[in-house]
Structures are given as C-alpha cells and as structure tokens.
Amino acid sequence: MVNLTINGIAVSAPEGTTIKDAAQMAGIYVPSLCYFKDLNEIGACRVCVVEVEGESRLVPSCNTPVQEGMVVRTNSPRVREARRTNVELILSQHDCHCPTCVRSGNCSLQTIANDLGIVENPYETELPKGVFAQWNKDFPLIRDSKKCIKCMRCVQVCDKIQSLNIWDVTGTGGRTTVDVSLNRLINEADCSLCGQCITHCPVGALRERDDTDRVREALADPDVVTVVQIAPAVRTAWGEGLGLTHEQATVERLAASLRRVGFDYVFDTVFSADLTIMEEGTEFLERFKSGELKEFPMFTSCCPGWVRFMKSQYPEYTKFLSTSKSPQQMFGATTKTWFAQKIGVDPKKIFCLSVMPCTAKKSECDLPTMVNEAYGKDVDLVLTVREVDRLIRSENIKPAELPEEPCDSPLGEGTGAGVIFGATGGVMEAALRSAYFLVTGKNPDADAFKDVRGCEGWREATFDMAGIPVRCAVASGLGNTRRLMEALKAGKVHYDFVEIMACPGGCSGGGGQPIQDGKEMAYVRGEILYGLDKLANVRFSHENTAVQALYNEYMEKPLSHRAEELLHTDHFGWSLPLAPGKKA
C-alpha cells in the first residue's frame, strides 16, 4: 500500500492506483473528460490535473500513479484556475447548442461545465466549417465534427478493442482532429457499424442516425398496421435512459410504454431468437454431419456487425457463416407472412419496427437481400434503445407509472434460451440446448452448456453430443474475433461451431444501448438476461409453442423450402468496402 495525503486527508491505496482513483477512495472526486479506464489514459484534456507538492507543474490525476508520501491538492486555486480554463477552451471549440443535442442531460462536458458554474466563456467560439463539418447524414453512424472534443476515445476503442482503425487523428497542429482514417469517407470505410465509438463518446459528437420521425409518420398513418419487436438485450438497459431502476425497467413495462406510443402490436424478438435456434441449430447439425466443417467452423450470423466484419476483413470465409437470417430479420419475415395472414392484413400495409441495442441493425434491415417481392422489406426500420427512449420521452410517457403488460401473442412468446441471445455465449448456449435435443431426442439439463458463459473475450468448450465431441468457441469484441480468425486461419485452433458478437460482452454492451459515460455495462446487463433465463418456465427454443405453431401452420419444418426462402439469406448478395489492402 502507498500512503499519501489528498486535500489533507490521509489515503492508503494499492501500488499503481492513479491519483484520481485514490482520491475517489477518500470521497474526493476529480472530474475528467478524455479519460476512460484501461482504454484511454492519455491525459489529453487536462481537466483532471491536480497539484502535487514538489512538482513544478500540475499533473494529470487520471494516469499518474500514487507515490509514497505524495501530497496532493485537487482543489487549490491553481488547480481550479487550470481546470476551469481548460474546460472553457474545450467549450470554445464545441458546438454548445445543447437543447438540440441527443446527449443533452447525458454529456460529460455539459456536466463538468455546469458543475464548474461556467456561465460565460471568455474565449471566442471557433467551430469547423465547410468540408470539415460535412457528413453523410444517410449513414447509420453520424459524426458531428463541431462537437468533437478530440478526446481520442473513438480512435482508441476502434483500434484497441475492435481492431478496425476506422477513426484516425487527422490534420496537424491546431487543426488536429479526428476523422475517418486513410482520408476515406465513412461510406468508403470498412466500418462494422458496431457503434462502440458512439457509446464511448463523452459528448454528442457521435450518434446513430435518428429515425424516430419515420416512426411517427407510420404511427400517424391510419392505413398502416404498426408492429414493433423488442430485442432480448433491450430489456437489460432501456430504463437506464429514462431514469428507471432495473426492477422497474421490465420488458412488460416497455411493452406498456410502446402501446401508449401507439403501436398496434408489441412483440418480442425472443420469439424469433427461438426460431433462429431451430433454423441455425438444424443447419449446424446438417453441415456438421456432412463433414463440411472439418477445416473451418460454422459461424453464427445473428450479429450484423460481425457479418460486416467477416465480409470486409475475411471475405474468403463468408461461406462459413450460417445462412440463417438474424432474429430481427426472421421476425420481420414471419410478421409479414404468417402473422399478416393470421390477422388478414395486406403485408404491404404492415410497418415493422424493431428496437435494437445495435447500430448495425439499421444497415441490416436495409440490405437488398432482406426484401421479398410479396411484402417488401422484412423489417422497415430499426430504432436503437436510445432512440426508443427518446421516442417515449417525446410522448411524455412516464413508464414508471405504467402497469406491466405482456407482449402480444403469438410473436410475443419466447423462452429463456431466446432471452440469453442478448449476452455473449447466449446464442451458442441456446443452440446447444436444442441441438442436443435434436440429436438425442431428449432435453439436456438447461444449464449443461454454462461453460460458454463468461467475460473472457474468447472462450472455448467441447461438448459431448451423443458421443460426438462438438468443439465450440465464443468471441465478443472484434479485436478478439480477429485473434480467433487468425488462429483458425493459421490452423492453430479447430472448432465446429463459433459464435461471434461484435460488441464486447455481446448485445447487452451493444453500440445502440443507453450510454453511461465511463462505464462498461455489458456484463452487468448480461447477468440480468441469465437471471431471466433461470426464472423462465420454458428454457428450450424447441419448446416455444408459438414457434411450433409457426412450423405446423406455415413453415412446415426447419430448412423447409419455405423456411429457406423466408428465413435464410445469401451473404454474397450484397457488398461493403473491404479492409484497406484487401482484394476481393
């Protein structure tokens, strides 16, 4: 332990602790802006500077470890002046039109400036203009250079965690800023659209394309039947953006809220997650038995960020992706066929919205391969959880005051297996539960495949399926995924079935989830999903009675001709920019 004094208080902290963390242990809070633990410890904003006795200059508390006998002051006149001035300087290059910013109320710069009581800025505002302020507003990921404070977190998360290097420092000197790397436009880049840069941005410089107006249009049209699906991971986080507790923020209360917004049918993507298991599980067993997975495994295809990664970084392995559509798209296809028939509505009149913890889903629903001549797009529009929270707020709905209401039937029915789709390893675990049944004709213990859970970025386990070992691996985060792919390519590892989720921790940590600056929430939220699974009455996808009804009444069986047409896709039917230097 290291002993030091902070603001006159004796503090004892383990060696290697930063001054900022040590201060927090003593109940002394030092504000910071660019700092993000373990990701961005570069001391760039100089907001967290403190005075250390004996040092000639102020030091950043975020990346300076404590030393024995150190005497630190976090609120001396010198520190106050520096902190305030540096925040004022940042504000002079920040578009401070807070009322029209999606991060208003959840912006670290706003909070710090308000906390410091800055009501006037002595520095003249200078914002990027012309080409430096342009962006393709049709792209699902939007960057506003006028709000960027150059904290570099987006660069770091894309480089270090996602290994895609989409962002880079550009310009030099006083014009240094962040932009798409290699002088590309964003639509020319091999961006996975994971959205991690958004959730790591302390201000409103990065956000998703806001599509809530298109929802309002659909809701306003009396001829349109509006159907909304709620992805599994949404139930772990939607309340964060509305000030609800976890206990309050149930999927049932979200269903009640969405009904108040005006949706005709509120359904649950957990239904189509179970459906995905039926298709993907059956597909896996077929491909496994045929021997085509000897060299390379079958990969899950639920995560559009991962599919984009595969197609841009490792296009030559695209054929190893499962052809099964993602639960979102299967949901849309089912809604506009079976369900439309059931309610006797022209599917072209159905507006199918999904609420997703994900930014890549916005692009997935627009793929040219996700349309059908008979009914058009599977899913018409995707809102991230942040957008749906804004939509609810805009309707002046107070979810906390609403009763819990179940989702509608039949596409509102789901199992515990479908629920855990929202956490890393969940798709694999759900698939194994049903694959076991399909192979042996009997259910395994629902917790038999727990070994694929965990928070390591790359996990592996081998399971016995009626005497045949099935080698499985799970990875989340694209940096981990790249390591796994390289190991597979080099022949260092061999698997039969691999689950990938682009965001660290899976969808619960998705790039479309509410933002809690400085916190990585994926595993906390993932635990909620595992808790729901534990409590679920039904924990096997093949026991979902709505899914069974769908097969009995319409799809016949997994991989049937109709299922192939509606529930599977051609990953070669569209393209995106390849990784720099990669040739088609």
Binding site: E55, V59, K129, V131, M152, D168, T170, G171, T172, D179
Partner: protein
C-alpha cells in the same frame, strides 16, 4: 541630449534575443510529420511580422499570401488560389526591395513547389497528405530505431545491463556505438526546446562502461536454414546476430583477418578502443555465428557457390577502396590513401611518421581520423588541406576542434593541383591552388572557385588522400547484382532486384555512411530474410522499462564528455574522451523528457516492443 550615445540593448531587446534563441532551438527539433502547409503559414506570418512596412510587395503581399495559405488550410481555397499564391510569391520575390520580402517569398515558392501534393490534397479533400506521425523524436531519428528513452531511464535507475539489453534489441553494437555513433538521435531531441539535447551517446557510453558482461538472449529453435553473410562489418554482423537469434545458421565470410569491418579498419583506436569493439563482436559470435576470415568472395569462393549452398545471402561488403585525386604525382612514394593507413593501423602495422611532415587532403571525418592518427604516429607537422572553408567541412565539429587542439594546421581554401617528387621519386611537396569561396551550389553548399593567385607549395614528406571511399562492386556486378554509380542497388527492404535469395545493405548500398545506418541496414535485412525464409520470428524487448517521473527537471546544462589534455592524449592511442561520472550520468539521464510517455507517446507509438 548628448551628441552621440553608445547603444545599450534594452531589457526588452535582451528578452527578445533570448526568445529568438529559444525559437531557433525549437525549429531545429520541429516534429516530423508536421503539415508543411501549416508550417509555411506560420513562416509567412513570422516573415510578415518582420517587414518594415515601406514597400508594397512585402507589406501587403506577404499578408495576402498568409491569408491565402490559411484558406488552403481552412478548406476554402480552390486550385486557382494555388496559382494566385504562386503568382503573388513570384512578384514579391521579384519586386521586393530587401531580403525581408524577397527571401520570404522565395521560401513560399520553394515550399509550394516541393509540397505541391500536400497543397493540392488540402484543396481537394480538406486533408493533409503528409504522414500524421508524431513519433518519439530520438527513436525516429535513429536509423536503427533504438529505444533511447528506455535505456536512458534504465541508466538513471542504475540498471546498466538492462540498458545494454534494450539497445541490443535493435543494435548489437552498443559498445561501438557508445564510442563512435554520430548520434542523429540527439539532433531532434525535444529537450532542445528546454535547454539542449540530451547527451545520449555519452549516456550510452556510461551504460556500456558500467554494464559488465551482458549475455545474449536465448535463441529461437533451430530452423535448419542457412544464411551466408559477406562482410563482417557492422551491417553484416548485425544481420548475422539477429538471424542467429531467430534460429538460423549464419556463416560470415570476411576477406580481412579480423572482424569488425570499418569499425576496426577505418576507425582509430583512440576513438574506439579495441576492447569495446571486441566485446560487441564476442556477444554476436556467442549466438553461434560461424565466421571464415581471410576469404574473399569472388576470389576464394564464388558468389554462385554461396547462392547455391545457402538459403539466403546478405551482401554487406562496405566501402573499402579509396577515391583518387587524379593529380600528377599521386603515385609517388610517400602518397598514401586514408583507407590504406587506417587499415594498416587496424592490422597493427602502424607506419612510422617520426619527424615527417604530413599533408592530409580532405575535410570529412575520415580526414580527421587520418590527421589525428598521423599526429599520434609522431609526425613533426600535420596539415589538413581543404578546398573549402572549415564551416563547409563534413567532419563533425568536435572532431575538427579536437584535431586543432592536437596541433593540426588547417590550410583551407586550398585545392591540390600536383604532388612534387624529388629525384628518388619521393614526395617532397604538395602544390595547391588558392580558392575563394563563392556562390552556393545546388547542394546548398558554397562552391570554391580559383582565387586567381599563385599556386602554393607546401613542403612535406607524406601526403594522405582522404577524399572518400568507393565500393568494390565489380565482382558482384559480374554475377548479376545491379549497381548504380558505384554502389550496389537494393530496395528499402534490402532486396536485390532479380535475385530472390540475395539481400544487400550497409555502405555497399548507401555509399560510405555512418555506423548506425549500416547497423540499420543489417537489422532490416535480418527481418526481411527471416520473412523470405517463411518465418516471422520476433525480436522482443525483454526488459521492464522504469515508470516516468512526474515533472521534467528544470533547465540544466548538458554534460559533455571531457577530453584528456591534448598534449597528453597525442602520445598514445588511448581513448580521447573520459566517460561521465556517476553523478553526471544521473543528472544527464534525469534531463530526459520521456517522450515515450509524455505528449503523443502515451497515446500512440511510445514504444516498439518487438519487431
């Protein structure tokens, strides 16, 4: 009022002069990868501030130039703006009344011509075309990219053996470099912004002098691949060392009886003691490198044979033959080449110059080596004849100073015209033609021209020609290695076009250059040979680098190494410079600003852990 007053600099002027000096040092260490347009904009502003305001082109023109260049940076300029910038600068250069205006405009013109692509990129895309790197200055400036902040920090902690390990990750000649490296790392040292660059080379010497024997790291598993290295100089032995660590079998062919190349046969002992060189070579050989000395490739063994018997060949033959003056009398008895003299010294066959008058022709580092060696060999007088000025000499300033202190006369602006011989055919005088310094040539150096006065006769007994070395390329050209203007041709990866198995580097490719560039060539070749053979062995940093200290030390003088008294040191070939004391090394190391951490370092590119 008095009729006349003595001008006294005002307090303000004193401060201003201080700021100018600070600015000069700052410019010297301008980071690499900086936007040239941004820099041009800053220069024009500075120049415009200097204008007296009398004349139109300078007073208004520079201001307009400044605005236009700024608009390029702001992304509001068009291609027409670039044309207008050029036209305006041309007119200012042509019509300004004094140098404040026309020199400023010339700078703009030179810049826009040289960085046209960057200007156009700004206009067309709003982006800068220059590399956006802000690497650690000393590491980037070192051709071998040795991790300077790491070893300086280790020296401060007294971990000298670890400092040597850090250096060896990129350079297996820490001892030789500690004594003779030209230390380009110091030129860009950010500490220049505070006071003066760190004495990196001096600190390295402290480390190697105090490290004791540091064993080489463990080798990788044997690969079964065999590599021939031709030439046991710094480049060849560097490649041999790294390739050997990577697990390959390396066999070095050296035509001279001992190893070290120019480190042994080109650098006098008073600069690099034999023991220091030998310790580096011992470490290199300890990795299992096999050596064959006295073998000349092309004579004793053919290149074809090597190509046939080895999986790869690295040609690092150095530059070991001399350039000739081409003046009458050059073949006379008593005329030596620098290469010949230094080689004889390296082979312990020192000639006797007792009482002889020596004239050395040349102004480079080798000329200084020859001058100072001649003094030590007992010459009664040593004159250095050079056709330009001392300012124009390519030798390091400290080499020139030390040669002066040791008693060498510098006869500058003298161009040799003939060597006079006596009836026995021995040298008796050197005739030179006095020169006058003149216009600056295309290379940026002022050229000497005939001063138009009578030739000068300098009586002497020995003439030593030190005007440069050449590479013996013929045997390699004969077997199909490409060459150009007397050097072998290899690409930046060391590959030789048309010869898949053959790599080349060092002086043989660069022309006579520095030790550290030769070492860098060997390192690059090792990496690419390894890859060519189908491997990706990694040379890793195996030392924990000490954490940084918080605040930088206040402005503090740089510790320079002290020379032994000149009258004493000329009597032997012992080292001229004394190493730092413990206290000096501590203080000097503490001056390091740790750019591997502070600034861009802790964001990007602070440290290369492996290559």
């Amino acid at each position: 009022m008095s009729r006349l007053n003595i001008d006294m600099p005002s307090q303000a002027q004193n401060v201003m002069d201080g700021l100018y000096r600070d600015l000069e040092r700052r410019l010297q260490v301008s980071p690499v990868g900086i936007c040239q347009v941004d820099m041009a904009s800053a220069f024009i502003k500075l120049c415009h501030a200097q204008t007296c305001g009398k004349c139109v082109p300078c007073r208004i023109g520079l201001g307009q130039l400044s605005k236009m260049v700024e608009s390029v940076l702001d992304g509001t300029a068009t291609m027409e703006t670039l044309t207008l910038i050029e036209k305006t600068a041309r007119v200012i250069a042509d019509s300004a009344d004094c140098a404040i205006g026309f020199e400023a405009a010339q700078m703009v013109l030179r810049g826009i011509k040289a960085f046209r692509a960057d200007y156009e990129s700004h206009v067309k895309t709003g982006h800068c075309a220059c590399g956006m790197d802000q690497p650690v200055p000393c590491v980037a400036a070192c051709p071998a990219h040795v991790d300077v902040p790491a070893y300086v920090a280790l020296i401060q902690e007294g971990r000298n053996a670890d400092a040597v390990r850090v250096i060896r990750k990129d350079n297996p000649f820490p001892s030789a470099c500690a004594y003779v490296c030209e230390h380009p790392c110091e030129h860009h040292c950010r500490r220049n912004m505070v006071d003066d660059s760190i004495n990196i080379c001096g600190l390295k010497r402290y480390a190697v002098d105090h490290a004791g024997t540091v064993p080489a790291p463990a080798k990788a598993e044997p690969t079964g691949k065999k590599i021939a290295v031709i030439g046991a100089g710094p480049s060849g032995l560097t490649a041999a060392y790294f390739l050997s660590l990577m697990g390959h079998k390396v066999v070095v062919y050296e035509q001279r009886p001992k190893l070290g190349g120019m480190l042994r046969y080109g650098i006098p002992r008073y600069r690099l003691p034999a023991a220091q060189l030998d310790s580096d070579i011992e470490n290199i050989l300890s990795t299992g490198v096999e050596v064959h000395t006295g073998v000349s490739v092309g004579k004793d063994i053919s290149m074809e044979e090597l190509e046939f018997s080895y999986d790869a060949v690295y040609v690092a033959i150095g530059a070991h033959t001399d350039k000739k003056l081409g003046i009458p009398g050059e073949d006379a008895e008593g005329v030596l080449s620098a290469v010949q003299l230094l080689r004889d010294m390296g082979e312990d066959r020192a000639p006797i110059f007792d009482g002889k008058r020596v004239c050395v022709i040349g102004g480079g580092n080798v000329a200084m080596d020859v001058v100072r060696t001649s003094i030590r060999l007992g010459a009664s007088s040593v004159k250095c004849m050079y056709r330009r000025r001392i300012d124009d000499m390519t030798a390091l300033p400290e080499e020139i100073e030390e040669a002066m202190a040791e008693g060498c006369d510098f006869e500058v602006l003298q161009s040799p015209v003939k060597i006079e011989t006596n009836e026995k055919g021995e040298v008796c005088a050197l005739w030179t033609r006095p020169q006058q310094i003149s216009l600056v040539g295309k290379d940026g150096r002022p050229r000497p021209v005939d001063a138009g006065v009578a030739d000068v006769r300098t009586p002497c007994d020995i003439v030593i020609v030190a005007i440069g070395q050449k590479i013996v390329v013929e045997p390699f050209e004969a077997v199909g290695l490409p060459s150009n203007r007397g050097v072998l041709v290899a690409d930046s990866a060391g590959r030789v076009t048309g010869k898949a198995k053959i790599f080349a580097g060092g002086d043989a490719v660069t022309g006579p250059a520095t030790v550290i560039r030769a070492i860098a060539g060997g390192k690059v070749a090792a990496a690419n040979i390894d890859e060519f053979l189908g491997y990706n062995h990694e040379i890793k940093l195996d030392v924990q680098v000490p954490p940084v200290h918080l605040s930088a030390s206040p402005a503090c003088g740089r510790v320079n190494l002290k020379a032994r008294p000149s009258d004493e040191r000329v009597k032997d070939f012992g080292p001229v410079l004394d190493g730092m004391s413990d206290a000096e090394a501590q203080q000097e190391a503490s001056r390091c600003l740790r750019c591997d951490y502070f600034g861009y370092g802790n964001f990007r590119g602070g440290r290369t852990f492996k290559w």
